[in-house]
Structure formats: C-alpha cells, structure tokens
Symmetry: none
Subunit: 227 residues, 2 copies
Amino acid sequence: MTTRVLVVDDDAHILRAIRIHLTACGYAVRTAQTGRAALRAGAEEHPDLVLLDLGLPDLDGTAVITELRSWSTVPIIVLSARTDGADKINALDTGADDYLTKPFSMPELLARMRAAVRRSGSPTDRDTVVATRDFSIDLAAKRVLSRAGTQVHLTPTEWAILEILVRDRGALVSQRRLLSEIWGPAYRTETNYLRVYLAQLRRKLEPEPARPRYLITESGMGYRFQD
Amino acid sequence: MTTRVLVVDDDAHILRAIRIHLTACGYAVRTAQTGRAALRAGAEEHPDLVLLDLGLPDLDGTAVITELRSWSTVPIIVLSARTDGADKINALDTGADDYLTKPFSMPELLARMRAAVRRSGSPTDRDTVVATRDFSIDLAAKRVLSRAGTQVHLTPTEWAILEILVRDRGALVSQRRLLSEIWGPAYRTETNYLRVYLAQLRRKLEPEPARPRYLITESGMGYRFQD
DNA sequence: TGGATCCGTTAGGAAGGCGTCAAGATCGGT
DNA sequence: ACCGATCTTGACGCCTTCCTAACGGATCCA
C-alpha cells in the first residue's frame, strides 16, 4: 500500500519541489498552503504522515500540531527555516515527532520519513474480525454479520463511526475525535450528529437498542465499544 | 514511573556529562561503553530508551541497532560525531528512531527524548495501565476495571481528578493544582469541590471508603494516589 | 475547654447532555 | 426528472452530572 503524505508549506515552489521528489519515490502526496487547509485535509484524508512547515500565514504552526493531536496520532515531521532552539523544543513537546531545519538534504528527509512511518505502522494492526455474542464485524471486508449469518447493512457514516470505535475497542473515544475524523474539525461541537447515528447503529446491532450493551455512552466524554 | 535510559558511548567523559544531566532531569540512567555491553544491558534491563553513539570500539553502531531491533522496539536515538549524511540515513533505515549530530544542545536532546518516549508509550498500553490489588486504571482507554473485571463508571470530573493523581502517583498533588487544572485558576480556593469528588471516587474505588487506602488526603496540602 | 480550621458525607435543585422521533434537504442512480 | 437512500436539522422529554449548602467529626492550638 502506498503511503499518503500531507505536505504543508506556504511556499508554492517548495511545495512543488517536495511533491515531485516524493511522488518519484512512490508516495501519494497531498498538499496544503495554510493551516486551516492542512487541518481540513488531515481530517478528510487521514494521511499516514504529515510534513509541516511552521511559518504558515493563518495559524501558528504549533496550533496546527495541537489541533491534529487532539484526535490523531499521525506522525508529524516539522520542516522549519527557524534555527532557534526554542522553536524546535516547543514543536517537539507539542506533539511533533521529528524536526528538520531548512535547508535539509532530501535523502535525510526521506530516511526520517521511513523511520516515522515504520514506527507508526506496526503496532496498529490488530485482529481484522471482531466477534461478539450477537454479531461479528469484519474490518477488512467492511461487513457486519448478525448471529444468524445474515448481513447487516450499514450506511457509510454508520460504518465510519463503528470502525473507529471497534478499532479502539474497549477504549473511550471522545466525541471530538469522532466528529473531527468523520465530518472534519469544523464540526467539533455538532454532537447531535453522533446522537442520531449512535441510535441508528444501536437499532441495527444491539439486541435491546434501548439498553445498549456494546455501544456505550460515557456522558460528557464520548463513546466506547464494549465487546 | 521513571523512564530508564541506556546511554552507550565509548568516551567516559561524555558518558559522565550525559548521566549527570539526565539524572538531574529525573531519568534513571544506565551506561555502557562498548557494543557488547550495550546489548547485554539492553537484554537485561529492558530500558525505555537507548541513546547510542555510533563510534564504538568493538562493534559497528549499526550492528548494535540491528541486534537490538531483532527482538525489541525500544526507541533508539543515535548521537554521532559523523556529519556524513550516509551514516545518518543508514542508521535511520537500520531501525534508529532519531539521529543527532554532535555537538547538540542538551535541551534539544531532552525534547527529542520526550518525543520518542511519548510515541512508544501510547500505542501499547503497557505504561498506561496502573494496576492495584483492587482495581486497574487504563489511562489511554479512560477505563477503570474492578478486580472482578466489571467496569467502574466515572463522570468526567471524577476521571479528570483521578487521572491527575494517577499520572503523578506517589506524589503529593496540591489542591491548588487540581482546582486550577480542572475548574480553572479562578476556582483555586473552592476546596469543597475536591472534598465532594474525592468522596465519590472513594465510594467507587476504595474497598473501605471510610478508610482510604489509595486516595490519601494530606491535610492542609493536597491529595496523593498511593498504589 | 473552647474555638478555629480542615475534612468527609449527604442530598436536592439547576444545568446541561443524551435518546428519540420526524420532517426537510441532499445525494446518487436510473 | 424521478425515486430511494442517506444525511442534516430541530424539537422535546428524560437522565446524568454538577454545583451548592449544611452538618458532623477530627485535629490543632490558645
């Protein structure tokens, strides 16, 4: 599978140069020139890696890191012209994974990208099929089977929510993260969407939709898939 | 819990300087001056982080990385005097997580260490689970399980308090800090909030809520989580 | 001994979050 | 252009959570 990279820089020339290099190396490249565009692209496309320039016109670079980190663990490599040590430390402590000072050598960037992707890739994969007493979920096939073996039809949004919850089953998933990942960061507060779709999922999956056993609500915090 | 660092360098002076710095910053430091000693120490002590100089007398630095990586995913930060780009790329592709060229600034090293540990800590829930005799707390999943395995439901405020106490378990946490972090600096003096929520937490977690064993009050100062 | 201070406990009203339903808007395929 | 499926939006009632106040117990010191 190709690695999808989101490159964020306000300079179109640099953007173009990086895109050409990365594309030639087999990466799928998406670009953004502003912080807001970067956050939108991050939420919509779920890149496997983010290359982030700190000097953006609209938002502070660390603000972009903070926002991304509020719902995602995607590796972030900061590329910056600032040689100030404080910036470096600040970015790393905010949640960046690596920090390169411009000008940097392309082979080094590529090596650091490989290292970042290697780290993030391995621990994520768990079982692809999650079975409960009442139904089973095949994450790879994007399919849900009831106990009788009949297929349960889910709409795209229903599946998106269920997938996130099941991938982190047992863990509490904040409403912020669900909304950011599915509708985008701008919808962070539209919690009524979640209420509607969770009700639909429960009607389709739970033996007693009024008394949820698998799709648990943690009031004020988020939702949890309990198996 | 303190982070255990294995520092590998053939120069005793540098070793000593790094040890002093890291110990002062709260790390538990173990040192090795040769590749073989490093591998032995890595196998015996399972450090949380390795700082590795590439110029070792007995083994090539990349050989140490390869050997460690054959059985461990511990973060490795390479410290090297070689400015050659090829070395850097080679080390990263062999399995190193980061690469700093000497001379480097101490604050930057510390920031990169924090970033490396943060990354390695989150995916697996080894360090995020705190188990006691009566219950276990999963900080990443935001979940508390009683000894019987049943889930203990906590409200957002209860969880916020417990999380702060458990993250600094063993240490005294002042009432001011709890109030500032959860309700904001303006509520610094509303200590009755804490009394109410600590009582609720004890009722849910302590075997004998009237005689707290884990959530300890330090009269006039603050609270402490004792495991 | 008496007062002052700090803490634990309880309970009820206020506020906000959640489940539910249904209708309008939008999308996608024929 | 039509129709079904899907998504959005608003409203309502219920339930959880939070805040607040009051009271009693413990400790310390004058």
